[in-house]
C-alpha cells in the first residue's frame, strides 16, 4: 500500500484536506515516545488503496520543537508527498517546499486557501510556479472542496521536482520565485481582520474573551446536562438497572461474584454510584457522568481551535500564566477541567515540557472544580451565608496562584516563551470538526474508561477488605483536630473519592457551622480528584510524579483546611 504524506505549515488546512481525502476510518496516534499526535486514514487512488498520513505541521525541516522533529522523521517514510501550501503566505510556505524538493520524493503541491488569497488581493500564476518547481501545482479551497478532485487526479503525475539550488541560497531562490509568480493588489481590512486584531489587544480582548468563555460554558452546560438528562439517565434507569436487578437476583443478591459485578445493594435497589459493582458503577461513572461532559467539551474545544480563537486567548493569558510557570496555552486544559478534569488532564499533552505538564495537571486536580464539584459547592455552601460561595472560590483562586508560583520555583525545567502564529478567523469545516471530535472521544473511551473500571474494582475490593474503614479511623484525629470537622465527616471524605457531590449529601445532615461548611467544601475540592481523574492522572504523569502530586494534594488541603479552621472557626466568624 503506498503511503501518502500530507506535509505543510501549521494552520494551512492540512487537516481539512486530509478529511476530504479519507473516509471514516481514521486513527489518531501518538508518535512513539512523544506526546505529538498525528492521524492516519486511507483513500482510494485509481484502483488501489493508499494510506494517507496527516503529518504534524512544520515550518522547516530544520526542527525547532518536538512536533517538527517528528515531522522530519516521518518525512523519510513516504512514497508520495502532498505539500499543502498557504496561498496567502507563499514566501514563508515555499521554505518548506524547497526543503522537501531536496528529498527527491514524488510530490504534488496543493495551493490551498486559494479563495482567501483572492480576498486579500493576491494572485498566483500556478502554471509558472509549476514550471519553476517541477511538480504539479493544484489550487484548492479545502473547506468547499474545490480543487480536491483535481488534486487527486494529479497524484499520478507526482514527480521529484526539477528545481536545483544551494542551501545557503534558499531564501534568495524563494524571493526569485515569488517575484515571478505572485501579484499583490492593495485592499482594505475586512471586518473579521479587525475583529481578529481586537481580540488580542488587552483592552478589547479581555471583554471578548469573557464573552467567549461565557458562551462556552453555557453550551457545555446545555449539551452536557442534556445528554445526561435526555439520554444517559433514562437509558440507565429504564433499561440497565432493571437488567442488573435481574442479574442480581440470579446471583442470589450476595456473594463475592455478585459484589464484584453488581456491588452492594441499597435497600434492595441498585444505587448506580455507591454500589461499586463493575457492571453498575464501573459503567455508569464513565458513561453517564463523565462522557457527556467530555463530549460537550471536545465540541467546544474543537470549535475554538478551528475558528482561530484559541491562540488569541493564549496570548491574552500568557503574561499571567508565566508567573505560575505555564505557557499561555495552558489556559485550555484549565478551562476543560471546569467541566470535567478528565479531558482537562488529557489536554495537557499540548504543552511542551514535563514541568508544565506536571504543574498544570497538579494545579488542576487541586484547584479546578469540575461541573460535579461546582454543583456540590453550590448545594453545600448555599447555607453558609452570602459570603460562603465567594469565599470558597476566592480561596481556590489564591491557592491556584500561590501554589503555581511555588511549584514554578521548585520544579526543575523550562517553561518556553510563547511563539505562535495567529491564524485569521475562519469558519470551521464541520465535517472535519466532527471527525476530530470523534477521534478524541474514541481516545477517551479507549484510554480512560478501562482504567476507571479498574479503579472501581480496586476500591470495591479495598472496601470489602475493610481497608477503607481502617483509613477512616486512622485519619480521624486529623479530620477533627486539624480541620475542625466532626467525626462523621470522615465518611463523606471517603465517599468523595468516588463522587464528590454525593459526599455533600453526607455532610448535609451534620449541622455544620458556616465556617465548617467552607472548610469542608475547600478540603473536599482540593484533597483528591475523583477516581476517573485519578486514573487518568496516573497514566499521564507516571508513578513517580503521581506520588509527588498526591503528596502535594494532601499537604495543600490539610494546610489550607487547617488555616481556614483557625481563621474561620477559632477566629470567631458566624
Amino acid at each position: 500500500m503506498i503511503k501518502i504524506l500530507l506535509m505543510g505549515n501549521p494552520n494551512v488546512g492540512k487537516s481539512v484536506i486530509f478529511s476530504r481525502l479519507t473516509g471514516v476510518h481514521v486513527v489518531a496516534s501518538n508518535y512513539p515516545g512523544t506526546t505529538v499526535g498525528y492521524t492516519r486514514g486511507t483513500m482510494k487512488v485509481q484502483d488501489s488503496t493508499a494510506e494517507v498520513v496527516d503529518v504534524p505541521g512544520t515550518y522547516t525541516l530544520d526542527p525547532t520543537c518536538k512536533a517538527e522533529e517528528v515531522a522530519v522523521e516521518m518525512c523519510g517514510d513516504g512514497d508520495l508527498i502532498i505539500n499543502v501550501v498557504d496561498a496567502t503566505n507563499l514566501e514563508r510556505n515555499l521554505n518548506l517546499t524547497l526543503q522537501l524538493l531536496k528529498k527527491k520524493v514524488p510530490m504534488v503541491v496543493a495551493l490551498n486557501l486559494w479563495d482567501e488569497a483572492r480576498h486579500v488581493g493576491i494572485t498566483i500564476d500556478q502554471k509558472k510556479l509549476e514550471e519553476l518547481l517541477g511538480v504539479p501545482v493544484v489550487p484548492t479551497v479545502a473547506v468547499t472542496g474545490e480543487g480536491i478532485l483535481e488534486l487527486v487526479r494529479h497524484l499520478s503525475q507526482a514527480r521529484p521536482g526539477t528545481l536545483e539550488y544551494d542551501d545557503g541560497e534558499r531564501w534568495h531562490e524563494i524571493g526569485r520565485i515569488v517575484e515571478q509568480v505572485q501579484q499583490v493588489t492593495h485592499r482594505h481590512h475586512t471586518f473579521w481582520e479587525r475583529l481578529g486584531d481586537a481580540s488580542i489587544h488587552p483592552l478589547s480582548g479581555a471583554p471578548i474573551a469573557l464573552i467567549v468563555l461565557a458562551v462556552t460554558f453555557y453550551i457545555i452546560r446545555i449539551v452536557g446536562e442534556g445528554l445526561i438528562g435526555f439520554l444517559f439517565d433514562p437509558l440507565f434507569e429504564r433499561l440497565w438497572s432493571p437488567l442488573m436487578i435481574r442479574l442480581s437476583n440470579l446471583l442470589g443478591s450476595s456473594g463475592v461474584l455478585h459484589d464484584i459485578l453488581i456491588g452492594r445493594l441499597t435497600d434492595a435497589r441498585i444505587d448506580l454510584i455507591e454500589s461499586l459493582g463493575l457492571l453498575t458503577t464501573g459503567i455508569y461513572v464513565p458513561l453517564a457522568m463523565v462522557l457527556p461532559y467530555v463530549f460537550a467539551f471536545y465540541l467546544v474545544l474543537s470549535l475554538l481551535e478551528d475558528s482561530g480563537y484559541l491562540p488569541r486567548l493564549a496570548i491574552l493569558m500568557d503574561t499571567l500564566m508565566h508567573r505560575i510557570g505555564l505557557h499561555g496555552l495552558a489556559i485550555v486544559p484549565m478551562m476543560l477541567a471546569l467541566g470535567c478534569n478528565v479531558p482537562g488532564t488529557l489536554a495537557t499533552r499540548i504543552l511542551e515540557t514535563r514541568k508544565e505538564r506536571f504543574i498544570s495537571i497538579t494545579l488542576m486536580a487541586i484547584c479546578v472544580p469540575c461541573a460535579a464539584q461546582l454543583a456540590m459547592i453550590v448545594g453545600l455552601l448555599g447555607r453558609a451565608g452570602w459570603w460562603g460561595i465567594p469565599a470558597l472560590f476566592g480561596v481556590l483562586l489564591v491557592v491556584w496562584i500561590s501554589l503555581g508560583m511555588l511549584l514554578n520555583r521548585l520544579v526543575p525545567g523550562e517553561s518556553p516563551e510563547i511563539f505562535v502564529e495567529i491564524p485569521p478567523y475562519r469558519l470551521p469545516y464541520l465535517s472535519g470538526l466532527f471527525k476530530k471530535m470523534w477521534m478524541r472521544i474514541r481516545g477517551f473511551l479507549l484510554e480512560a474508561v478501562p482504567f476507571v473500571i479498574l479503579g472501581v474494582l480496586v476500591i470495591n475490593i479495598l472496601y470489602t477488605l475493610g481497608i477503607i474503614d481502617l483509613l477512616g479511623r486512622l485519619t480521624e484525629p486529623i479530620i477533627t483536630g486539624v480541620l475542625g470537622l466532626p467525626r462523621d465527616a470522615v465518611g463523606a471524605l471517603i465517599v468523595g473519592f468516588m463522587r464528590k457531590d454525593v459526599a455533600v449529601g453526607m455532610l448535609a445532615p451534620l449541622d455544620l457551622t458556616a465556617g465548617q461548611l467552607v472548610t469542608a467544601g475547600v478540603v473536599l475540592t482540593m484533597y483528591f480528584p475523583c477516581v476517573a481523574t485519578f486514573v487518568v492522572m496516573a497514566r499521564e504523569l507516571g508513578v513517580r510524579d503521581m506520588l509527588l502530586a498526591m503528596a502535594i494534594m494532601v499537604i495543600a488541603s490539610l494546610a489550607v483546611g487547617g488555616l481556614l479552621n483557625l481563621l474561620l472557626q477559632k477566629g470567631g466568624l458566624p
Partner: protein, 79 residues
C-alpha cells in the same frame, strides 16, 4: 549593533530587520516563520507587563514572547 529593539517600538510602527541578537537557535526559529534580516515587520501591539508582542510579517500575524522580541533589532524610517 545598529538598530532598535522590537520591544522599544510603539504599536503601529514598522521597520526592517537588521539582526537577531543571541544564539543560533532563536535565529533559526524566527527564520522558519519568515523573520530574517531584510524582512519588513509591522508591530501591531504589545501587552502590558512584558507580555507577548504581536507583529505582522507579510500576510501573517505572529505573537512572540517578550524575551525573544527584545532580541530582534530593526531599522526604522526615522533612524
Amino acid at each position: 549593533m545598529e538598530g532598535q529593539k522590537l520591544t522599544a517600538l510603539k504599536a503601529g510602527a514598522s521597520g526592517t530587520v537588521v539582526a537577531i541578537e543571541g544564539g543560533a537557535l532563536l535565529a533559526r526559529r524566527l527564520e522558519a516563520l519568515g523573520i530574517r534580516p531584510g524582512v519588513h515587520i509591522i508591530k501591531r501591539s504589545s501587552q502590558l507587563l512584558r507580555g507577548p508582542v504581536t507583529i505582522a510579517v507579510g500576510n501573517s500575524r505572529l505573537a512572540i514572547g517578550h524575551g525573544m522580541a527584545k532580541r530582534i533589532l530593526l531599522k526604522t524610517k526615522d533612524r
